[in-house]
Subunit: 92 residues, 2 copies
């Protein structure tokens, strides 16, 4: 299991990420962090909500932070992209 | 000014919402809440980040909550849509 159970949310179907959350939470750590940038941010929220409402009722949102990251664009400049982290934890 | 200074984030260009945030914070209330659903969630994060990084350096994120709302679909069924609220407040 990778350090701190971080799941990076990209362009795949949302159920792929929900399954990743369920798999991570089966391990000893009851904490998983979702990280997303730009357009994928809404998919991170979908992932957290589906995992919580349909699969793990005692899953809690421990914290949400937003930020901005500098990314190199194709033209060689840097562009600012919004990012979000959602920390989820199971029960107490 | 509407109650509690709520700005609903939709499909308009992000700078429209940034301008709305700046206008609200010019009033006596130093607090503004951004509400978004579905695909607009990432635009809400963009709005908060642009307002904070480019225009109001002492703007703080007071809280972020996520949830799920039931909405009627065009076929008469209800669909679940993720929602997010970001509360922003101007430093003291």
């Amino acid at each position: 299991m990778e350090e701190n159970s971080v799941i990076y949310i990209g362009d795949k179907p949302v159920m792929n990420y929900v399954l990743a959350v369920l798999t991570q939470l089966k391990g000893d750590s009851g904490v998983v962090t979702l990280k997303a940038r730009g357009r994928s941010i809404s998919r991170a929220v979908d992932t957290a909500e589906i995992a919580r409402n349909r699969f793990i009722p005692d899953l809690k949102v421990a914290g949400i932070t937003i930020g901005t990251e500098n990314m190199p664009s194709e033209q060689g400049r840097t562009v600012n992209v919004s990012s979000m982290e959602i920390v989820l934890c199971k029960g107490q």
